[in-house]
């Protein structure tokens, strides 16, 4: 296991009390595997990976639990040590390529900066490597592109540059937070192809966050579904698509318009909206919107056992041992 997260909880101290954003999240990522994390905005998917990267800078954050990277505990790790890991062994790319790069430096400079921070090489070598990487991610004329400023590149090119930057030190784990959401569909396909190719050549594990299940169908080895800061289902890709068990996952899949068959009169939606984290419902967080809700759902379900884990009493999930 390259990454082992156990009972990760993240809360924030606010004027109105402690707001819990992540609730006992646990998962593992194997070496070279691609784990997809799926969920709506506010489900906690971004917060999970920010916690892994140690990028939660809010002084009012309270982080509990354990994150083991190749056996090393990341929760509570000293800043200086974390910085050695970040960018070198664990890299992250973010959602919006338009604002991800510093506007006043060329992309070559920014990529070289990362290389020089983590590796003892000369400036010339760093620039050379930057050109190589840009070529690898499919940017045409990389020797020229290296001298361009971020605003001179299109969205798709910028995201490729960002990916190139993330790969500079051959990270063992790459975290991608909705990397294609801000791009249009054709570009999206290219970026996904790129990521898959890179995964093969570099052998990195990837955590891929998205709200779009369709994207996961192609790429993921395993998929984890999150809702309101909790993990609600986790299975291999095939198992999840073939036999979704949690009502939320079912509803998500149903809301994708079908390619074949009769055209539906209306697009299927999930009634209601995600709960405010300040005001979580008692018991199962999805309860108020669940069409199959019954009495037991007043208690918080725990995950069933692997390989196909679900947090739903319908599938025989155990009652929690400890009440909140």
């Amino acid at each position: 296991m390259i990454l082992s997260v156990k009972d990760l909880s993240v809360s924030f101290r606010t004027e109105t009390g402690l707001v819990r954003v992540l609730d006992d999240v646990s998962f593992d990522v194997a070496e070279g595997e691609l784990l997809g994390i799926v969920g709506e905005s506010g489900s906690g998917k971004t917060m999970t990976v920010l916690a892994v990267m140690g990028l939660i800078t809010d002084p009012n954050a309270v982080i509990k639990g354990s994150i083991l990277y190749r056996g090393r505990e990341l929760v509570g790790m000293k800043g200086r040590e974390m910085r050695k890991l970040r960018g070198r062994e664990i890299a992250m790319i973010f959602q919006d390529p338009m604002t991800a790069l510093t506007p006043v430096y060329t992309i070559g400079w920014q990529i070289a900066e990362q290389i020089l921070t983590h590796q003892k090489v000369s400036k010339a070598q760093a620039w050379h490597r930057a050109i190589e990487l840009l070529a690898e991610v499919g940017i045409p004329k990389p020797e020229e592109a290296v001298h361009r400023y971020p605003h001179q590149l299109s969205g798709g090119m910028r995201q490729r540059a960002v990916i190139a930057m993330a790969l500079t030190c051959n990270p063992a784990l790459l975290v991608a937070d909705e990397p294609t959401t801000a791009l249009d569909v054709t570009v999206q396909a290219q970026i996904l192809d790129l990521l898959r190719k890179l995964q093969e050549t570099h052998g990195s594990a990837i955590i891929f966050i998205t709200h779009d299940l369709g994207v996961m169908a192609e790429l993921a080895d395993r998929i984890m579904v999150m809702y309101a800061g909790r993990v609600v289902e986790r299975a291999t890709r095939d198992a999840l698509f073939a036999d979704p068990q949690h009502p939320y996952t079912v509803a998500l899949l149903n809301s994708i318009p079908p390619l074949e068959g009769p055209r539906p009169h209306r697009l299927q939606t999930i009634a209601g909206s995600p709960p405010s984290l300040l005001n979580l419902p008692q018991g199962c967080a999805f309860g108020p919107r669940c069409p199959r809700r019954f009495d037991a759902c007043a208690a918080k379900p725990a995950l069933t056992l692997p390989p196909h884990e679900t947090a739903c009493f319908l599938t025989g999930a155990p009652m929690p041992a400890v009440t909140e």
């Binding site: 709960p275 405010s276 005001n279 419902p281 108020p288």
Partner: protein
């Protein structure tokens, strides 16, 4: 079903946020205290039995039962004329001493403060009204209207602010203006109000214009135009309320700026004219006495610093309460 939370309106939210900002409230209280003290200047003068505007070179003051002339002959060095009495630190009794003309500095301080505050406030109102007017016109209509107004504002603003004020002041101060039936005497306070009000119009008009321009592109305004509403109505009912937060935040900022400008002009003898006083003129009075009776110059300066500081602190708090993400620049001298 989840309960629907009713949120407070933006004004109420801002009000509450401001209410929790202790520093801003303290600053506001300090400023209001100063205003009240200055407003009570006639009371103080009456109680102390002094006329702060009359030259009283032969006044006599009683301290601890001993009578002392207010203007004393120096006992050391060359007998080069009279030196006014220094601070007695007794309220109502030449608390801060006397100036070159035997007048009670404390009483003049309070009267002067009233003038400084009134001028700053009135000039602020003047600036905001006209800046909003021009900003609305330029931002809403665009085209030639915008070009003309913006060019005029550019030229106006190209003058270093103080130099423009100085130019206008000397011209108007020497003889006042008479346009048709309106005649403003050169000693009137309206002149500094007008001058200070005018020179800062570009400073406020530019951000207002910018905001109006972007509001003009917003959906609700486009809808109103599409519905055929008259321009004037749109400007007043749709755009103006949205600009009002910017304007409100400008109030303490402009007041602070104006106090500094007015005091500088008065110091240079082209602001408030004698026999009226303002904090700036008193500092000017105190120049010749600086090394012997420094309090005449120090006291009004401290009053200015405290007033401007409290206005700035309150202005910060107000801006944070109304829009924590706003980018309004702080005032400067």
């Amino acid at each position: 079903m989840q309960p629907v939370t009713v949120s407070r309106g933006p004004w109420a939210t801002a009000f509450h946020r401001l209410g929790r900002d202790r520093t801003a409230l303290v600053a506001l209280a300090v400023f209001l205290l100063i205003v009240i003290a200055c407003l009570s200047s006639p009371v103080y003068a009456w109680w102390a039995g002094v006329d702060p505007f009359k030259s009283t070179l032969d006044a006599v003051v009683t301290i601890d039962g001993v009578k002392q002339p207010v203007m004393e002959l120096p006992t050391t060095g060359l007998a080069l004329g009279y030196t006014p009495i220094g601070p007695t630190w007794r309220l109502g009794n030449y608390f801060l001493g006397a100036d070159n003309q035997g007048r009670d500095v404390m009483a003049r301080l309070l009267y002067g403060g009233m003038n400084s505050i009134v001028i700053a406030g009135a000039a602020t109102a003047f600036t905001l009204i006209f800046a909003t007017f021009f900003g609305l016109l330029a931002g809403f209509f665009g085209g030639i209207v915008d070009i003309v107004i913006s060019r005029i504002l550019d030229v106006l603003w190209a003058f270093p602010v103080y130099l423009l004020a100085i130019s206008l002041s000397i011209v108007l101060m020497t003889q006042g203006i008479s346009i048709g039936p309106f005649a403003i005497d050169s000693g009137s306070l309206l002149l500094p109000i007008f001058i200070i009000g005018v020179i800062y119009i570009p400073y406020v008009a530019r951000p207002v214009r910018g905001q109006v321009m972007s509001l003009r592109q917003s959906d609700f305004v486009m809808a109103a135009i599409g519905l055929g509403a008259p321009s004037g109505r749109i400007m007043v009912k749709d755009i103006l309320p949205n600009v009002s937060t910017t304007l409100i935040v400008f109030i303490p900022i402009m007041m602070a700026l104006n106090m500094l400008t007015e005091s500088a002009l008065s110091f240079l003898s082209i602001g408030v004219q004698p026999p009226a006083a303002s904090w700036g003129t008193i500092i000017q009075d105190g120049q010749t006495l600086l090394y012997t009776r420094p309090w005449v110059a120090l006291a009004p300066g401290f009053m200015i610093v405290i007033s401007v500081l409290s206005l700035n602190v309150f202005g910060d708090g107000l801006r944070d309460a109304l829009d924590p993400r706003s980018k309004i620049k702080l005032g400067r001298g």
